[in-house]
Amino acid sequence: MSVLVDISHRQGGFAIGARFESAGRLTALFGASGSGKTTLIGMIAGLIRPDKGRIEVDGRVLVDTGAGIFVPKHKRRIGMVFQDARLFPHLSVAGNLRYGRWFTPPAERYADIDAVVDLLGIGPLMNRRPAKLSGGEKQRVAIGRALLASPRLLLMDEPLASLDEARKAEILPYVERLRDEIKIPIVYVSHSVAEVARLASDVVMLAQGNVVASGPTEAVMQRLDLLPAEERGEGGAVLDTKVLHHDENFGMTVLGSAAGELRVPQLAMKTGTPVRIRIRARDVMIATEKPRGLSALNILPGTITAMSPGEGPAVEVGIDCNGVTVLARITEQSRQALKLHLGGKVFAVIKTVSFDRANTGAGLPAETGG
């Protein structure tokens, strides 16, 4: 699966010139408000005809202005969850959900209506009209509608923005299942680092219509300088780990990674399952001696390989823990107090409870992810 976009386009005073290629399972489009995310996926969906350029999905040329190719939207089989839900006002929720099924060859229908309805918690709404739904309910139905058309590529335009955390946490695993079990490739627009880090195999970062960075999530997320100042603490290392065993007593799961063992709140996954975790830079403390009498359970020994001033009083410290880089964000005062220097031996200290659900996702099997 691959998406290739190489277009340039003007709309009004806004010029977009984006080139990226992603072979990822879930490619996140990340960027500030007005940076052109919606415009870009509109082009992939066939809603906007770029002035110039080429779009390919899985080797199929959808747009090639040079050759005069423009596959109409209904022939692309690309599902779209719009930023504004755009439900059909004359159809009930059930009618909206079923709409796309008519146009899917039965053999290619992979989405099951009951499962989707269950998951999205929209069972009680089935006979309602869209006008009688709350904002979040609308968005959930819109996700269901796009899914049930069983598209070959799913575009999601900030699908979770209007949902509360509880609902987000419920839906995120399903997005992961789409990605990993149904193996439907997804292009996911978001401005949440947490979502991106958790879900994406690849990230494309947009600023004012231009691609400023793109590549595997691990790589892009480590470049804290690219993140907006407010989000830097959210960035950090993304580790691919495996479930080693469960500690039923304390309700924890022990993950194995190159950096060492990590104890996280229990995951409902079998031993050996790959798990991806994000370690927020701001959740990592540095200790020069192995801490004692401290509630933090994860203590990884390592060597300082990088130090760079961050925003304000912060310093970003890269710690190589047996080949894996963990990022820590501490104050300049602490750096001086602890006399940290490149090559120094230290311990990265991480609380178990920092691995909440937002940071722990189903891992991407080894052969993919960039």
Binding site: G46, L47, F82, F88, P89, H90, Y99, R129, P130
Partner: protein, 234 residues
């Protein structure tokens, strides 16, 4: 009531005929009406102004002129009339079908306008959304556009029906006034108005015509409201 319904057989026939003619005129002009409305609302083509003008012509022309033009075109010796009669066996001249044609033509601009207005009010982003779900333009039209313009369709249809119930000038000029065949209510009313002392008869038929049209009107309102409630505008 007795006075009102104490009609001669010819008058009863006129009532029946009027309903038939108006219904057929309305139904038959719906498909071309939708098509032309779509074309005018969405199309970008050379000659759109001409099509638009042609559609409005029956409104602009005195009905007698329209009737005469129909006579020249769809009459026995008119080009279209001769062609249709020869190849499809459709004859308009002096038939109720001709009355329906005249009424349909006269109501056409009203119907097209109503439908066109509704089409222009449709949120095209809904159609785009349907497209991404795999619906081709025809399906999009049938499943999204058409339901959304239903109130406009109903309004257009009822206008055409009402117009057909009142149409007289074009009809009588085109297919004349033959009892049981082309004598619609307005023709019968006209006859009454042309004789001294015919007022009472004219009044009676007029009232009947009003009752029928009002019934249709109320039905259309109920229908439109039900459709509207389904659409839940707020």
């Amino acid at each position: 009531m007795n006075w009102l319904l104490d009609l001669t057989p010819d008058e009863w026939n006129a009532v029946r005929l009027s309903i038939k003619v108006a219904t057929v005129a309305m139904l038959a002009s719906l498909p071309p009406g939708i098509l032309i409305a779509l074309l005018l609302a969405r199309g970008q083509f050379w000659g759109k102004t001409v099509v638009n003008g042609l559609v409005h012509l029956p409104l602009i022309l005195p009905p007698v002129v329209t009737g005469y033009l129909l006579l020249l075109t769809f009459g026995r010796r008119g080009p279209a009339g001769a062609f249709l009669a020869e190849h499809f066996g459709i004859v308009f001249s002096f038939r109720w079908t001709g009355a329906a044609l005249a009424c349909g033509v006269m109501g056409f601009p009203l119907m097209v306008r109503a439908i066109r207005l509704s089409i222009e009010a449709v949120d095209r982003r809904m159609e785009a959304a349907a497209g991404t779900l795999g619906a081709n333009p025809l399906w999009v039209f049938a499943t999204i556009t058409l339901p959304l313009i239903l109130p406009g369709l109903i309004a257009g249809a009822i206008l055409a029906f009402a117009k057909a119930m009142g149409e007289f000038g074009a009809t009588i000029t085109f297919v004349s006034n033959i009892p049981n065949e082309t004598q619609t209510l307005p023709s019968a009313i006209y006859t009454f108005t042309q004789v001294p002392g015919g007022d009472e008869g004219a009044l009676r038929l007029t009232l009947i015509s009003i009752v029928i049209s009002m019934a249709a009107l109320v039905a259309s309102e109920v229908l439109a409201r039900r459709v509207g409630r389904r659409l839940d505008i707020e």
